[in-house]
Homo-oligomer: 233 residues x 2
DNA sequence: GAGTGGTCTAGACCACTGT
DNA sequence: CAGTGGTCTAGACCACTCC
């Protein structure tokens, strides 16, 4: 059983991982520098750099200039999380996507939403409530606030006909933002909308997006019972 | 107002994002190829390649050989999720970490755990239950199964003295695996352990790890009420 | 100050895929 | 087949930071 030759940066990465797995290198160890590894592997330093850089960004290695590269001692693993548009997620499951607007009003948001969007207390925003359906069954309850100061044209859109998220994706410049995952107990309203018993533990995503011109939207998504979000380690 | 000059791959990336934000390029658009962009920006093609590659891996662009590079139409955004060791997470909050082993037995796991670990139904695994504490208050309830076939030395460890996760990190080769996030209602046992009312909606992480020698461990983490997991978009 | 990683360049070849 | 991205190379310079 001979190991596969080291080919390309993925080969280098695989060989590094093999040495960790074989305990040739253990957490905390300093490993050779890029130039030495390049010589060992018979490749250019840039190739080693790419492999080690990737491993560092997944939390397997820790790198510091001058100090060198170490096997992470108490690794904070980083996972890539895919956050699909709901329509895609549902269609990827082989289901039929549906969308129903429940309400669309203008109102002053509660304090927590004001804070997330960095707007003054009395300001009037667009408030949408909608439900996303999988094969006609409630899948996600969406409660969204849109900042009309940043995005006045949102006031003219018929969100009964157009999914708010998809309208935003197509009509708003690049978004930065943050996202939080948590759990809640279904309120009576959420239970009614999602068709589950009140108090049921539900998975929640809170997401805020901003553009260079200011905060855009804060959305609170409550998923139907049984929802699981998956990621690879 | 002059824009910053394009310096390095981060500069190229910023300029691409600016053009998307300014709607010079809109979702679905084909953008120039790497060679042309390199000429526009006055840099090497490799620099453009790195910038575009990064944007593609965060879901902003879609690239295919021969077909070129497009602004993603219905972008599946990818976020980096940091999954710290619990001790670190608690200490990063400025709290004091504590750990209590509740039970440590050998037993045949329930069917769902068998499936996740790919072990036969009757096989005996190590079953740990523990609670992680923040400033003495329950923070996470951990229910873990360890595959003794893959990891016989785990049978000798005193997990009352050593946190299982940290022992595994230090003593087991590199791990791959998957991770799932969901919500549950506190069982009476979980409520007692976490000090909350029964039925409370709780955030859950299920994690399975494997090595090249076989599956290692399946862990079910139930977080105390109010827990939020954060990520950057 | 010296050693390390981080990045850039110019050129080359390869791999994939649409036409 | 031709055009595109994907990768590799050899060399260079820079930025950071430990000693």
């Amino acid at each position: 059983m001979t190991s596969a030759p080291v080919r390309g940066w993925q080969g280098v990465q695989a060989e590094i991982l093999r040495r960790i797995a074989a305990q040739e290198w253990v957490p905390g160890d300093l490993i050779p520098n890029e130039a030495d590894l390049a010589e060992q592997f018979g490749c250019a330093r840039a190739t080693v750099n790419r492999a080690l850089g990737n491993l560092a960004s997944s939390g397997i290695l820790e790198r510091r200039r001058k100090a060198g590269t170490r096997i992470a001692a108490l690794p904070t693993r980083r996972a890539m999380l895919s956050i699909p548009v709901l329509r895609r997620e549902i269609e990827a499951r082989g289901g039929k996507y549906g969308y129903t607007l429940l309400s669309c009003t203008r109102a002053a948001p509660p304090p927590d939403v004001c804070a997330r969007l960095a707007v003054a207390g009395g300001e009037v925003l667009l408030h949408l409530q909608a439900v996303h359906l999988l094969d006609g069954q409630p899948y996600v309850f969406e409660d969204r606030w849109i900042n009309l100061a940043t995005l006045p044209q949102a006031g003219e859109v018929d969100f009964a006909a157009v999914n708010a998220n998809e309208w935003l994706v197509g009509n708003v410049p690049f978004e930065a933002g943050d996202i939080a995952f948590s759990a809640t107990n279904a309120s009576s309203e959420e239970a009614r909308i999602l068709g589950c018993e009140e108090g049921r533990g539900l998975f929640v995503i809170d997401r805020t997006t901003r553009s260079s011109r200011g905060s855009i939207t804060a959305v609170h998504l409550v998923f139907a019972p049984g929802y699981r979000m998956l990621a690879e380690l």
